[in-house]
């Protein structure tokens, strides 16, 4: 059992390893979204000066030890934190005390992505390899729906990100199956499938604050912004050839 866990974990490491030198691109993606969100921050293409490290923090306020494998997904809502990882569980716990509240065991592979509903009542969870996504009740742990839209393709259909729209209505999910899919958060009905041209494994999906647009980044490095209702591409931040696996 332990060996199997280590093997699966190494797959996750490969998934992350695929990203190569993604840092710069990742940061670029983040700022692109800030700009689209209406930020008027000054443009600065100047080289960074040798920066001081700022405040150094070495001691955590709290360390949660409920997992028995690396923790690959964390999401915070109000006073609760949900975390998931290589032990295939999602655990909900008190952000102030670390007291465990709930353990969800509906997934059979590494938990790679999770997102709270805006009202804090539900959690959506995606995992590696299996390609299915589950929405469950954050208070009871009851599974509310299972979304299988990423399981249409052979090969690795790992879910790389899930994001609940700020208005609560939709969920966007990105996958190594080369798509970002938008679906109804209450019914699981598929609404839209977005693919880049040429198709690329997708690393992240993030909603704009008004729930109308999505910034999705690909393992090919670029960040694509598209209209959530039509799938029309609105803008592209070209990558530097390294995959983008993080955006906000």
């Amino acid at each position: 059992m332990k060996d199997q866990g280590a093997h699966r974990l190494s797959r996750r490491t490969i998934l992350i390893g695929l990203a190569g030198l993604a840092g710069v691109t990742a940061a670029g993606g983040a700022i692109a979204w800030l700009k689209l969100a209406g930020s008027t921050s000054a443009q600065s293409n100047h080289p960074q000066p040798t920066a001081p490290q700022g405040v150094i923090v070495t001691t955590p306020l709290l360390t949660y030890r409920g997992h028995h494998a690396p923790v690959t997904a964390v999401a915070w809502h109000d006073t609760r934190i949900a975390s998931g990882g290589g032990d295939h569980t999602v655990q909900v716990w008190n952000a102030n005390t670390g007291a465990p509240l709930l353990t969800y065991s509906g997934h059979t592979d590494i938990v790679t992505a999770l997102s709270w509903s805006p009202d804090g009542r539900k959690i959506v969870v995606g995992a590696a390899h299996t390609g299915f996504i589950q929405v469950w009740d954050a208070s009871t742990g009851a599974t509310l729906l299972t979304y299988r839209g990423h399981q249409q393709k052979t090969g690795d259909t790992s879910i790389t990100d899930v994001a609940w729209s700020p208005n609560g209505q939709w969920i966007a999910s990105s996958s190594l199956d080369d798509s970002v899919q938008i679906w109804d958060s209450a019914t699981g009905a598929a609404l839209l499938t977005y693919r880049t041209d040429p198709p690329a494994a997708m690393g992240t999906a993030e909603w704009s604050p008004d729930s109308t647009r999505i910034a999705a980044s690909g393992m090919a490095g670029a960040v694509h912004i598209f209209a959530a209702s039509t799938g029309t591409t609105l803008g592209v931040l070209p990558g530097n050839g390294s995959p983008t696996i993080a955006s906000q």
Binding site: G23, V24, I56, A246
Partner: protein, 86 residues
């Protein structure tokens, strides 16, 4: 459709893969992680805080508290660590 350009490039993690970034609720800061967690100004890229606990580990996903003052980060050492931000 238009081609966009980055307004800031942040190089604080060197050549290490950055598994996640998170934005503070007010949009002022970005937190990014690799072998440590770095919080920097979104507008300028200036590093403001580094979280670097003693034991070496790789960090995966970051989540900020709703008020942005604390951060939670998932680690390869099987823990989630909550620490004080800016």
């Amino acid at each position: 459709m238009s081609t966009r350009k980055p307004s800031v490039r942040y190089h604080g993690h060197g050549r290490f893969t950055v598994p996640d970034i998170a934005r503070s609720p007010d949009g002022r800061y970005i937190a990014s992680d690799a072998l440590d967690v770095q919080m920097w100004e979104a507008a300028t890229g200036r590093l403001r805080l580094t979280y670097r606990p003693g034991a070496s580990a790789e960090f995966f996903q970051i989540a900020l508290a709703p008020d942005g003052t604390r951060l939670a980060v998932g680690s390869s050492d099987m823990t989630v660590q909550v620490f004080q931000g800016l």
